[in-house]
Amino acid sequence: MLTAYNIPCLYFVLSNYGAVFQGRDLHRMFRNYCATPADIQAYQKESARKGDTMNSRGLRSQLKDSVPVAGLCPQGAYGVQDSLRSGFTSIKNELLPSHPLELSEKNFHLNQDKMNFSTLRNIQGLHAPLKLQMEYRAARQIQRLPFLPSSNLALDTLRGSDECIGFEDILCDPAQSEVMGEPHMMVEYKLGLL
């Protein structure tokens, strides 16, 4: 069961960390953005060909790893389940979200971008979101090493969030976080060597 979900997760990891911008990626991206009935039929044919007949499309968006976080290890210190903080181990707790807002907050920017780009595509044609997405991808690659906080100045300017203050500027400031990741592990994870 886990292998069917890992493949799209790996795709997301590669695309978020600055993979080469290919036409195939773009087609897959827009297939998710604006699924016409033809797209849905094509998807169903593909999934029937692969052999999984379960309608996993809706379930996948409800699972916690719809935007992937760490691997499959438990969330305590040193890889052992922290019973005091997270309770007893259960598959349900690891897969389904514990708060109604958890998923929508994690995916908020993605969803908003999806909505805006599909509207833009409908109004102005394919070139408009294409050009904007190219700029976003370029700006997203300007980062410091993974264990250091990056300012994301170019990305903020493109998004317009350099002129807005929201809860993400006040709460849980990454520059003042209490936990520190081990630098070597974080770089290896980002490069996919882990």
Partner: protein, 275 residues
Amino acid sequence: MALSSVLQTHPAGFNFDNVARNSALEGLFEGGQTPKPLKTGTTIAGVVFKDGVVLGADTRATSSEVVADKMCAKIHYISPNIYCCGAGTAADTEKTTDLLSSNLSIFSLNSGRNPRVVMAVNILQDMLYRYHGQVGANLILGGVDCTGNHLYTVGPYGSVNKVPYLAMGSGDLAALGILEDGFKHDLELEKAKELVRASIHAGIMSDLGSGNNIDICVITRQGVDYIRPYQESEYKDNRNVRYRYRPGTTPVLTEKVVPLKLEVAQEAVQHMDTA
């Protein structure tokens, strides 16, 4: 604290790590001992009159059955021409109006204009809808801008209503009765202030969650008049803030003086070199 399993830094914003633990803890104590958030069971009201907007609010903040704050300020500053009354969870209204005020001041610094009330309403609506009602803030926004005098209400799920008179909070039914009876278009300033005062008073009398003093805020094109308190409650207690008594408050019953005899045992002089 270095954890070997932290592979990505936490994104900024709300952190849901402790939700599972909190719900487990609540189940453990049968929900009786978790800390309750400070709510402002409240009466807030607003009226559009001829030259502007009058906003009114009571000043009681409750934490379940206990009055937590007797002089709570429920009318928040958003911008020089917009003020906002907040009902619901006190921290949520406070923080949301603070964020709104910051965003609008950035806007007015960027563009050199006073913000419009519709801008404030739209920002609030987006923010509150994003959190699907988890941010418990019922707000009444009133202000005067270049397009006129406006009064809006924003609910916790992001619903917006534009109305000439309005009451919100737990005492809103009583307040709305007075407003429905006495409201006319293009009221004069004194009549509008009296109407808002009477409606908040009705809310205070009929609702346990509202009480103490009444604050009034009058917003016109010329400026803002924030009268705090406009009317003080008749049921004030005489508790002192500082317990300092005049000399002579306590009567002296008897007096006995015993001189302390001291003998000089040794005297030594040491010269200090002050050159």
